[in-house]
């Protein structure tokens, strides 16, 4: 596994006896220790924002304008906010696809491929069911099939890692490109809807079979399912034996092996869960938005999900707010393009700044005395 722990909270607690002891003492001390995980990322965000502001001023644009358009375009009105929520729905799921393997010490970036194949699988499965099966049954089967296909795809990466030592970051990325090629092959060939000659897609699933919006809002159910999955996976990783075993493996795989943990099965299981999340995102893209599977599935959600997961320090409970933040940034991109005459790559640059500064801030953990418990400080 990696040399330095991949920004996971749990293994540090396990390995560092000092903090464990601190956990047994009073609440204020625990709060102080844990606030490090909030303050430092926040500090990183502020610094990144500052750097970006300098960047904007260097090219003659006003950072104040930028922030105001981000607010207006992403959060300020009900319309923008719901736009943001809708955009963050796939991001939540693809971020989970990075966060779960990260907990076991793997850096997997194959969410895009799993999303595309999952969406394609859902669209393909719909074809024989339209008109014959009741919508709920069809949708559930499509979702399950999408999750199975996605899970298999990323699980394969995990398997390669365990069985052959193949670096999972590169293999998951290669599988993404291969997965997109597979989808294109079928969507333009065997499974193509011939009544739609200009945009190769699978057969439309029809309005009756589409996933609807959460009542009272403009946001589809994928958002709610994403939230639910975050909570469920948090419990899985933090409160079950499986999660505990996974985190131990993530901290030190050799020690885990020595302990007799089924490392191989854990790795494949975590990778499969990750792929299932991304596959589900693909299902929602097909069933809630497009109504069919086609090349528009490869819209980059998988890659943005990587950023979300790292920003959230791979904690499933923190993923939703971070996804909303990033979703808002992306949502406001259009307004920024139109009002500030900036290219759409601006949001990419900002994301790059945030990501780089955030990773650099990793070095600050454990350096500030203010966060350490009084017992630890007295020790020095």
């Amino acid at each position: 596994m990696s040399n330095t722990p991949v920004a996971t909270g749990a293994p540090r607690e396990l390995i560092d006896p000092l903090t464990t002891r601190a956990a047994h003492s009073d609440f204020a001390v625990r709060l102080r220790a844990n606030s490090e995980y909030v303050v430092i990322p926040l500090l990183a965000l502020i610094i990144a924002a500052g750097l970006f502001a300098v960047f904007l001023m260097a090219i003659g644009k006003s950072p104040v304008d930028f922030v105001s358009y981000v607010w207006r375009g992403g959060f300020g009105t009900a319309f923008s906010f719901q736009n943001t929520l809708q955009r963050s729905a796939p991001l939540i799921l693809t971020a989970l696809a990075v966060a779960i393997p990260a907990r076991i010490g793997l850096i997997m970036i194959g969410g895009e491929g799993a999303l595309v194949l999952g969406g394609f699988a859902a669209g393909a499965l719909a074809i024989p069911m339209i008109g014959h099966a009741p919508p709920m049954v069809a949708l559930v089967l499509m979702a399950l099939f999408a999750m199975i296909v996605g899970g298999f795809w990323v699980g394969f990466s995990g398997f390669l890692r365990y069985a052959r030592g193949v670096n999972e970051t590169i293999s998951s990325l290669l599988l993404t490109y291969i997965g997109i090629a597979i989808m294109n092959f079928f969507v333009e060939g065997a499974l193509r809807d011939l009544s739609n000659p200009n945009k190769p897609s699978t057969m439309p699933i029809g309005d009756a079979y589409m996933v609807g919006k959460i009542p009272g809002t403009q946001v589809h159910w994928g958002f709610a399912f994403g939230l639910a999955l975050c909570v469920a996976l948090y419990f899985l990783m933090a409160r079950t034996t499986f999660g505990f075993a996974a985190r131990v493996t993530g901290g030190n795989s050799r020690a885990a092996l020595a302990q007799g943990l089924p490392v191989g099965r854990l790795i494949v299981a975590c990778s499969a869960i990750a792929g299932a999340c991304a596959g589900l995102a693909g299902f929602f893209e097909v069933a809630a938005i497009q109504g069919r599977a086609n090349a528009s599935l490869a819209a980059g959600y998988g890659f943005t999900g990587i950023l979300v997961s790292f920003l959230a320090r791979h904690n499933p409970l923190v993923i939703p707010p971070v996804a909303i933040l990033l979703g808002g940034l992306v949502a406001s991109g259009g307004l920024i393009q139109r009002r500030m005459e900036l290219p759409d790559a601006t949001v990419l640059v900002l994301q790059g700044f945030i990501f780089v500064v955030l990773l650099t801030s990793e070095t600050l953990y454990g350096r500030f005395a203010i966060f350490r418990s009084t017992k630890e400080r007295d020790r020095t």
């Binding site: 375009g73 009900a78 955009r87 011939l194 200009n198 009272g216 809002t217 938005i289 528009s296």
Partner: protein, 372 residues
């Protein structure tokens, strides 16, 4: 459902109603709006300056900006997902757009259709012949130029310029409009040179520079001495052809400066005809036509001015072909067979705008290559 959840949803709902109310009022203002001032929103799927599809629209919309009283807001690199839905809605709500131009195939279903139903006071026009009178809302519509007519003219000129009788075509995806372009090049070339053939290589996507360069090289290696294409940004194909010393025909925008020695002519859209028409209709308060398609006979397409490789006879033949197309002379005159099974796919003569041709999924006999 907890208390906090309920009140958050309630808050969203009231906020949404508030915005909706504001929009409705805005709608009333918009109708008289048309006489005074108009905001046109246009959405591109790629970069505005791609030397291709998006640039053709951008150039046309630029002329629209000079019309007094018209303001244009543009957004580029909008993918064919619900992102375009939100972009269009944002243009309507925040920029007050009264006319939305959606320029990519995949924008129509379901995004443009759903949004047109939601905002009946805003006009939506989509650059593909997809609008259906019985199914789609009245404030939506389509416009399209039959570029295959211009490709036919390309073929006419290329047929006389080629010495090896082999024309190469770099194509993105095997969809109807691309296949029609390929077939039209063949028919145009055969009208002046019965021995001409067209060889096609599919790259698989609309914009893949390395693969396009490889494909162009492979076609030249296979003996083609005229290269043309249907990809979003023909820059790489034309430049590669020029580097290899073969002739080229352009697509979507004018690539004359890229091939000073080998350029013959190119197939370009003339969106400005349509856009100016919309603007003047709106200024006069007239309702916009829902379905505007056509080719040379209504000035929706054009051919790039001839380049250095266009010989005298080629130019004459091309100009004659253009006159013929303006007079609605049909391109697809049956019976024509396909190149895979040999069965007749075009049984009789079809008018150039006949919807039968929009379903094309075959390559005609004489084209070397396959759609899958």
């Amino acid at each position: 459902m907890s208390v906090t959840e309920f009140s958050r949803r309630g808050l969203l709902k009231t906020a949404a109603l508030g915005v909706a109310g504001a929009t409705l009022n805005l709608g009333a203002v918009k109708r008289t709006f048309a006489a005074a001032d108009l905001t046109v929103g246009i959405v591109y799927v790629g970069a505005r300056d791609d030397f291709g599809w998006n640039q053709a629209h951008a150039v046309a919309i630029k002329s629209l900006k000079e019309v007094p009283g018209v303001k244009v807001v543009e957004e580029e690199n909008v993918p064919e997902t619900d992102a375009v839905s939100k972009s269009m809605e944002s243009m309507i709500n925040l920029d007050g757009a009264g006319l939305i131009l959606a320029t990519s195939f995949g924008y129509y279903t379901p995004f443009v259709v759903d949004l047109a139903k939601k905002y009946p006071d805003v006009q939506f026009r989509h650059a593909a012949p997809l609008w259906s009178q019985d199914k789609d809302p009245k404030n939506a519509g389509s416009y399209f130029g039959y570029l295959n007519q211009a490709h036919y003219v390309d073929g006419v000129a290329a047929g006389l310029c080629t010495k090896k009788n082999k024309i190469g075509f770099v194509a993105a995806k095997p969809i109807a409009s691309v296949l029609s372009n390929i077939n039209s090049v063949l028919l145009g070339a055969r009208s002046t040179n019965p021995n001409a053939t067209v060889q096609v290589i599919f790259t698989g996507d609309w914009s893949m520079p390395v693969r396009e360069a490889e494909a162009a090289n492979a076609l030249v290696d296979a003996g083609c001495d005229v290269i043309t294409c249907h990809v979003d940004g023909p820059k790489v194909v034309i430049e590669t052809a020029e580097k290899r010393g073969v002739m080229s025909c352009g697509h979507n925008a004018s690539q004359v400066p890229l091939a000073p020695k080998g350029f013959i002519t190119g197939a370009e859209y003339k969106w400005i005809t349509i856009y100016k028409g919309y603007a003047s209709d709106l200024a006069e308060g007239k309702s916009l036509p829902n379905f505007l398609t056509g080719g040379y006979e209504v000035d929706f397409v054009q051919n790039t001015p001839f380049g250095a490789a266009a010989t005298e006879p080629a130019q004459k033949a091309a100009l004659a072909a253009i006159e013929g197309l303006k007079a609605k002379k049909p391109i697809y005159v049956g019976p024509l067979k396909d190149n895979k099974t040999g069965k007749v796919v075009i049984d009789k003569t079809y008018g150039n705008l006949d919807p039968f041709l929009d379903k094309m999924d075959y390559l005609l006999e004489g084209v070397v290559g396959s759609t899958t």
